[in-house]
């Protein structure tokens, strides 16, 4: 957003404003002109006074130093040692006591004054340069104040003009000038607004002296110029220099200072040329010719692209329109005749060119032209600049001229008083609405309930009813809008199954004691190469950013795994175990459309799971913790992944990982991190991850159904099966379930035994079966029959025998 600096004194030139700077700032802020801060040049000037050099004598021990006795009122006198060349007795100067905080004269830092012995004599404070006071860059000599300034007062009272630093909205280029801000203030405070003094322009400039021409009416909407004779180039008046500095510009000489001053006042940039250096007595707004180049004011030779709008004379370009002037046609100390250019340009063209040339930050002109400045400013700015050149550079006006092929017409906006009530929700008295608009310079006509308004010429942001209502509301104050709870019709809401599942998973993982994390969704692409031992990708190629802020955030993550590994590794530097999860979309490119944003839940367990305490033994996370959480999720919400189960997940330990895929998409994948990957991330070998694709799980969600508590008692049977070492437990349980059908309440694995009692190549699973029927108490005989059916099935299908 554009920032401008407005000294309060300048504002008060045009608005009869009252109240201290803070109140003015608050009023502007509350009516829509954002005040970022108030800068007071005196802010750092504690212990700095207006003093008078009462006596000046040579330092007894040094040729180049002087002893100055400073009188700073009420009989106070101090002696300071100074090397400044520009002091004479009787000068009024800033005097800083011991304890004052000042800028360094020969550096960029700050210092606090202490008594200092110089060649044997103690200097009690010092007299200050512009630079030391933070007023400018001049450190050649002491800042000499006008003799009329009262000695003994704080310097801040004498010089301190508070500066409002405004953050403007791009729709309000009119406030890029002090006068525009003054109009706002006058409207809010209900005080008079004064226009700056303007010369009366005669539009009778002899075309032989200077003609203006627009060759690109798209790029240049209005082109005005004035010629002035008898100009005497010299420094601009002190007050003008002071304001330029306060507004953040460097004074150069009167001609340039005046164009800048007018720009700061009205928002409209102007450019002054040495009229004697113009060839062909013409100023043209045109596109650059092929191969045309220009040395700009910043000393850079630039080759101009053919779409660049330039201001040219009869032979060659003089400057890049609206952005930067050329070095060649600059005003010189010897200049006596000036051609003043003032034009209105198409904002987007200016913006594009300024950005292309990398000048959008530096150019005060383009910062204004890129906004939609009113073309009505052209004659106003010209008249104001002529006025000041006549006043302060001895100039005489030879005449003015302009071309304006397609004049802009201000809109006439028709609205009803009821529109104000309809939009704001409060009924404002008519007179008050009308008065607000008038104070802002709107023209106004009324007929019954409707009225027609025309915005002031410098406002380009008002086009529709709502714009006008906002103007009214701004000036009467947004505080007038009441607080009301809406009582209109309520919409029907939809169900959101994915979000429901996601939040359920989030709650469950928290319930399992896992800490949620939220990490950057933009990651370093190098991370993705570190997720598999051979660097092979574990996820589709990520979406890359055109203009990343840094490499570390240059792709949209296609997996959550890298983020979890990174978070775990950083935390394991100061702890010995982590359990973390994240739920976020991953971004998968899709042909012909926006990427597929797939909500994914992922968790990671690494290192120490439980600490040693007087009640517990220490232990590390292991793969069966992952199994617990997966089974826990299943029990709670039925995510129990059905689909093709296969061992081995890319990037995970091939024998200790599993995924369940539906089609070619993994719904759930989990396991131990491949130890080689763990090493790359400096993670413990015992690191485990799980990833759940919530979209797929949602498609196959089997919500647990309600169970009525059983009415008949259960029978417990412990059975130990001896099976081949290679047989997975899951296969055994599947057979047991198959045999027991609905009479099996639950199975608990009590023990896994390998050893001499079962023989090599074998293992024993000890199961506790809860057997029950929903319709009757099982008799001993029925239980016997059931267990022998189970035993028979296991023997038959798996070759498993009953142990013991």
């Amino acid at each position: 957003m554009p920032t401008i600096r407005v000294p309060v004194s300048w504002l008060k030139d045009y608005a009869d404003a009252h109240g201290p700077a803070d109140e003015i700032a608050r009023q502007l802020h509350m009516s829509g002109t954002e005040v970022d801060r108030i800068e007071r040049p005196g802010g750092g000037w504690e212990h700095v006074w207006v003093g008078r050099i009462a006596k000046l004598e040579k330092h007894p021990n040094a040729d180049k130093l002087l002893l100055a006795t400073v009188d700073y009122g009420e009989g106070r006198e101090k002696t300071v040692v100074t090397g400044a060349p520009n002091l004479t007795e009787g000068d009024v100067v800033p005097y800083a006591e011991v304890g004052a905080r000042l800028r360094e004269g020969h550096g960029a830092g700050w210092l606090t004054l202490e008594p200092k012995k110089m060649r044997g004599i103690v200097s009690e404070g010092m007299v200050c340069s512009e630079k030391e006071l933070g007023l400018g860059e001049d450190h050649e000599g002491i800042l000499i104040l006008d003799k009329s300034v009262k000695v003994g007062q704080p310097l801040a009272d004498a010089l301190g003009d508070p500066v409002l630093v405004l953050e403007l909205q791009p729709n309000r280029p009119d406030c890029m000038g002090v006068v525009g801000v003054a109009r706002e203030l006058a409207a809010v405070q209900r005080v008079a607004l004064r226009e700056p003094a303007m010369a009366k322009l005669r539009w009778d400039l002899d075309p032989d002296r200077l003609a203006v021409r627009i060759e690109d009416p798209e790029g240049c909407r209005r082109f005005g110029a004035a010629v002035l004779d008898n100009v005497k180039i010299g420094p601009s008046p002190k007050w003008m220099q002071g304001r330029l500095i306060a507004a953040g510009m460097r004074p150069i000489h009167n001609a340039v200072d005046i164009t800048n001053y007018v720009m700061l006042e009205l928002g409209q940039p102007l450019h002054a040329y040495d009229a004697d250096h113009l060839r062909g007595n013409v100023l043209v707004a045109r596109r650059a010719h092929g191969g045309e180049s220009l040395r700009t004011l910043d000393g850079v030779d630039r080759l101009l692209a053919p779409d660049v709008l330039v201001i040219a004379d009869g032979q060659r370009s003089l400057g890049i329109a609206g952005i930067l002037g050329g070095a060649d046609s600059e005003i010189r100390p010897s200049t006596t005749r000036i051609a003043l250019e003032c034009a209105s340009f198409e904002p987007r063209g200016i913006d594009r060119t300024a950005q292309k040339l990398g000048l959008s930050q530096q150019s005060a002109a383009s910062a204004r032209f890129r906004l939609n400045l009113s073309p009505e400013l052209v004659p106003l700015a010209l008249a104001r600049a002529v006025q000041l050149l006549v006043e302060h550079a001895g100039a005489t006006l030879a005449g003015a001229t302009e071309v304006y092929p397609k004049p802009w017409h201000r809109p006439n906006i028709k609205l009803r008083f009821s529109d104000v009530t309809r939009i704001l929700g409060v009924e404002l008295p008519r007179e008050e609405s009308v008065d607000a608009l008038k104070r802002l310079g709107f023209q106004y006509a009324e007929s019954g309930d409707t009225f027609v308004v025309t915005p002031p010429p410098i406002r380009t942001d008002i086009a529709i009813t709502e714009d006008v209502v906002e103007e009214v509301a701004r000036i009467v104050g947004y505080d007038r809008i009441p607080v009301r709870v809406p009582d209109g019709p309520l919409p029907l809401h939809e169900r959101h199954p994915l979000e429901e599942l996601r939040e359920r998973v989030r709650d469950l993982l928290v319930g399992f004691g896992i800490q949620e994390t939220v990490s950057y969704s933009l990651i370093d692409p190098a991370w993705l190469e570190r997720l598999a031992p051979d660097g092979a990708p574990i996820a589709p190629d990520p979406i890359r950013l055109q203009n990343p802020t840094s490499v570390s955030q240059s792709v949209a993550r296609p997996t959550l795994r890298a983020s979890l590994l990174d978070t775990a590794a950083r935390n394991l530097k100061h702890r010995d175990g982590v359990a973390i999860f994240e739920i976020s979309p991953v971004y998968l490119p899709r042909s012909g459309d926006l990427p597929d944003e797939r909500w994914t839940a992922a968790f990671l367990l690494s290192g120490r799971a439980e600490q040693q305490t007087w009640l517990t033994k220490p232990r590390d996370w292991d793969i069966y913790d992952v199994r617990s959480f997966i089974l826990g999720l299943d029990r709670a919400i039925g995510i129990g992944p059905r689909g093709d189960r296969s061992t081995g997940v890319p990037g995970l330990h091939p024998g200790r990982s599993v995924k369940v895929a539906i089609g070619d998409r993994a719904a759930v994948a989990y396991g131990q991190l491949d130890p080689r990957v763990a090493e790359r991330w400096e993670l413990p070998e015992a690191t485990f991850v799980a990833e759940l694709d919530l979209h797929i799980l949602l498609e196959d969600l089997q919500r647990p159904s309600a169970v009525v508590p059983p009415r008949f008692p259960a029978a417990l049977r412990d059975l130990a099966f001896v099976v081949d070492e290679a047989l997975p437990y899951g296969d055994l349980v599947a057979e047991v379930r198959g045999a027991a059908k609905d009479l099996l309440g639950s199975v608990t694995l009590l023990d896994v035994y390998r050893g001499p009692q079962v023989g090599t190549g074998k293992k024993s699973f000890a199961l506790r079966l809860v057997l029950r029927s929903q319709t009757a108490t099982l008799t001993d005989a029925e239980v016997e029959k059931l267990t022998s059916r189970i035993e028979g099935r296991v023997l038959h299908k798996l070759g498993g025998t009953i142990r013991g």
Binding site: M30, S31, G32, Q169, N171, R172, P347, R348, D351, I423, L424, G425, I464, E466, D467, E470, A473, R474, Y478, D479, I481, P482, V483, V485, P486, G488, L490, P491, H493, E499, R506, V510, G513, I514, Q515, E516, T517, V518, S519, Y520, S521, L522, I543, R544, Q546, N547, T549, A556, T567, R570, H574, R575, I580, R590, S591, G592, D593, L594, P595, T616
Partner: protein, 382 residues
Amino acid sequence: MFARKEAYVADDLSDLAKRAAREIADAADESALEGVRVRYLGRKDGELTTRMKAVSALPAAERPAAGAALNAAKATIEAAIADRERVLRAASLDRSLSGGALDLTLPGRPVRLGRLHPISRTIRDISRIFLGMGFESVEGPEIEWDYYNFEALNIPAGHPARDKFNTLWVAQDSAVALSLARTAAGGATARGGDAARDMGPMLFRTHTSPMQVRIMEQRRPPIRIIVPGRCYRFEATDATHESVFFQYEGLAIDEMMSMADLKGVLYSFARQIFGGERKVRFRPDYFPFTEPSAEIAFDCFVCEGTGQIDGGRCATCAGSGWIEAAGCGMVHPDVLRRVGYDPAKYQGFAFGGGVDRLAGLLTGTPDIRLFYQNDLRYLESV
């Protein structure tokens, strides 16, 4: 033989009862008492049980008398055991109550506390509060078309307001293939929009506002939605700025929704999220997709709007007394027109605020970068 048997069954019953009574009285604890019970009443070979089994061998005429005598003896013994048991239990309880104190300053087994991330928690709070005012939570894509992020919101290319939204763009080579496919298939057009609409380049949404347009394209008024979600900006990060962050967007459209309603909804939100009698401050602001526009601030819930705390500057509101919470305004008629709503019939408001800032205020987190660094020492503290 029979007499013998009878004598055996009923003989010495009084002696047995006396012995039992003595042993019961002597039982020092519950296990000793259980031993006595087994000795006399045990199912297998308790003394009394054995005699009762023998009753059936008696002549029929003698059985009732013997049985009655035995049953009486059994009842006496059982009652004595029950009495003794009560006494023993009471004594044991007495001992346990007087001597069983445990050190309850000892810690228990460690509990692993899972916690929601402050961002998740804040999003839930926001959604819950707005749900109470009839706002349905909906979500949308983080990677968006330029059309939804900008064009449809009155921010065409080259508009100076784009300065406010420094955009992260999807890389050309990713995008070129996509846009080619798009043109060929005619695929990437808005639902309900005209098929030839140019969606422009692909970007990382700079705000949650695109969902205003998407939802209005899909539904008819009345509309009340809240959209939480991740957003992106090309921005240098500092304590209050992140290039990846979260926002919440609100939109309400019907035939009479006004700025007063907007103020009311956000005022109610402030009271519910910060608590207390909050003050609300509206000031004019500018957004191309709302008119009139406003910035809403609430008086600081820490210093109660004074800007001072313990004589110093309140850190929460930086001494201003106000917490700027959201940008908002009345939905611009052009935005309504573009989704096919008649601005003469429908009107409403939209607002958008930062989840991170809110989460920071609510948790007292001084630097929003802490949210994304995921240092567990921090996360376990909030």
